[in-house]
Amino acid sequence: MLTAEKTRAKTRSTVPAPRPAPVRKSDGRPPWMERPTRMGTTAKAVAVVVVVLAVAYPLIGVIGTSFASQTDIIKSSGLVLWPDHPTLDAYRTIFTGGVVTRALFVSVGITVFGTLASLLVTVGMAYGLSRREVTGSRFILMTALFTMLFNAGIIPNFLLVKGLGLYDTYAALVMPTLVSAFNLVVLRSFFMNLPEELYDAAKVDGAGDFRILVRIVLPLSKAVLAVISLFYAVTYWNAFFNSLLYLNDTDKWPLPMVLRTYVLQGQSLNAASAGEVLAPQQAVQMAVLVIAVVPILCVYPFLQRYFTKGVLTGAVKG
């Protein structure tokens, strides 16, 4: 490893007449790196702004349009970024009973119960497989991991759900995606990386396997559990595939199905909801979109810092 002095000495010998650049420690640039040119910096800044806008503009546009009144919508094209005459009519329309309100309850319900169920089963399995000396754990792990390689496909899954009597039940939205092998691997490798001494100490103190899980392992795993909950919750919140396949009864539809019918396929929600208010169709559609996105936007910032760790554990070890 080169010391700082040596580096500087070498730089001096090969680079002719280094400009005595002002020392700026704060920008974290190593001494050998060129000062960025103004054009390079500008290009980079433009690129960053474009990327951020490409993500943010549609989202802001959707939120803006959901508050827009009829005049705002006629004035602008497609999306209203900043409504001049903001109104809550759209939200009043969808919340006065009717399809969207019911779908919202369904979605919240399957998200809460589904996430809890998935978390329980995944934690149990990941912990049970986290110690190699457990009889058969390797075989069970391979059984689970092998499912990452193939997918039974639409028809067999459909026939199975029908055969189990889950068709047209809420369980059909949860059971087929109960455990994700990816999350299982992430959680298991986290458990395995906890210091061995913890287990030993707990055992010497007379704790059984279950008590170790509840008293020692879980309290240490809050961060990774949060990320995995988010992954599961998002899956259930966005559940479209399962509801499309396994739900025939429109009364049981979760939010994504309602979105598809009333926003994508353009059926009128005013007719479908019980309310009297007549908000502009487009604002109502965007309000439904907002309701579908906002929960994600709300939990996202709190969990964002854990992503990299979680994803990389899964990608490298999974």
């Binding site: 080169l2 580096t7 070498k10 730089t11 090969t14 190593p30 980079k44 990327v51 951020v52 993500v55 943010a56 549609p58 094209s77 497609g78 999306l79 089963v121 149990g124 049970g128 457990v134 009889t135 792990l141 059984t143 689970a144 991991l145 990452m148 390689l149 193939f150 997918n151 039974a152 496909g153 639409i154 899954n157 026939l159 059971m175 109960l178 455990v179 691997v185 490798s189 055992k203 007379g206 704790a207 059984g208 396997d209 279950f210 966005n238 479209f240 595939f241 994504p256 598809r260 926003v263 559609q285 979109l289 579908a292 996105v293 994600i296 964002q304 990299t308 994803v311 990389l312 990608a315």
Partner: protein, 340 residues
């Protein structure tokens, strides 16, 4: 629970004892051979752990392995009211029926076309974005941009397609802007020729940011000293990118590329199903939607299952092959490292 604690393995017990009472005489006379527990004893010892594993194991067996039996339908003239047991066996008739149908080949062609366009035009996007993110010197700005670009990954396809409809669709932003400039109002959402490009655009919006995570990690793993040495030898930023950065992340890129190739028959089902009707089945039908419409919509169970089976077998072979190839190249692959 305390009384059920299984006995410690001998080695650990000794280690423990050593730590507590250092100069203690060997209290346990060392046996000649380690005592082997029978299977029953081991299961009894591990019963809590195994019980915790059981629900998950049941899930994987019931929802991933049992459905494979459902593929018998591919060899039957399956009628739901008759069931597997009483439906007529027809051998490979469903397969030949599917292969004789132009719609099947069109769906195959569309699947490959979409996969290829995505592979060529989406694959480099996260790499470029990661390089951009990596070059942002300010930590705070970089974190902010990262939070923004990761976000769309969590938004469901229904929402994303709806948003695109608002922007590119017939009554959306783009046609209006084009119209106000005197150009024809172009509706990308219903243009069959643009379909693979539309899908790629949407995938890029959703997952380009998420895809940077693994590449950023690879970038972080490159030894700083390589850059330093290159700079000292007179390599400018562009040559450092070419000779240090790209070789540094090449293993990860190759791995990702191979794995993508393995997934080539599985283009996004939800995303395409939602937009198939806007462009029509000629351009919008892929293998998965073909199976869905033939089987679940038209009750042509046998043919749909046959196509599904062909797709599943070839797809699994591709994934296994790709993974094996990755090992061959000296990478851990995706599944091997799991038991470490």
């Amino acid at each position: 629970m305390a009384d059920t604690a299984p006995p410690l393995p001998r080695e650990k017990r000794r280690k423990w004892r050593k730590q507590v009472e250092e100069p203690a005489p060997p209290a346990v006379p060392a046996p000649v051979a380690p005592r082997r527990l029978t299977l029953g004893q081991r299961i009894k010892r591990d019963r809590v752990m195994l019980l915790l594993t059981l629900p998950g194991l049941l899930y994987f067996v019931v929802f991933h392995y049992v459905p494979l039996l459902g593929y018998v339908v591919a060899f039957q003239d399956y009628q739901p009211y008759l069931g597997y047991m009483h439906s007529v066996w027809v051998g490979f008739a469903n397969f030949s029926a599917a292969f004789a149908e132009p719609a099947f080949w069109s769906a195959t062609f569309n699947t490959l076309e979409i996969a290829l366009v995505q592979l060529v035009f989406f694959f480099p996007v996260p790499v470029a974005l990661a390089l951009l993110l990596n070059s942002i010197a300010s930590d705070r700005i970089r974190r902010f941009v990262q939070s923004v670009v990761y976000l769309p990954h969590f938004i469901g396809w229904v929402i994303i397609v709806s948003i695109f409809q608002q922007i590119l669709g017939g009554a959306g932003v783009l046609p209006d802007v084009l119209g106000s400039m005197g150009l024809p109002r172009y509706d990308m959402m219903s243009d069959p020729d643009a379909f693979p490009w539309l899908l790629t655009l949407q995938v890029a919006w959703k997952d380009a940011g998420w895809g940077t995570i693994i590449i950023l990690a690879a970038l972080l793993n490159i030894d700083r000293q390589q850059y330093e040495a290159a700079a000292i030898d007179g390599a400018g930023p562009r040559r450092r990118l070419w000779h240090v950065t790209l070789p540094g992340i090449a293993p990860v890129l190759i791995l990702l590329l191979i794995l993508n190739l393995g997934q080539i028959l599985s283009v996004g089902f939800e995303q395409i199903l939602l937009q198939r009707d806007a462009v029509g089945p000629d351009a919008g039908e892929v293998l998965d939607t073909y199976v869905y419409y033939h089987g679940i919509k038209d009750n042509d169970w046998g043919v749909a299952a046959a196509v599904g089976l062909v797709k599943a077998v070839i797809g699994t072979a591709l994934v296994l092959g790709a993974n094996k190839f990755a090992h061959r190249l000296g990478h851990e692959g995706v599944y091997r490292g799991a038991d470490r």
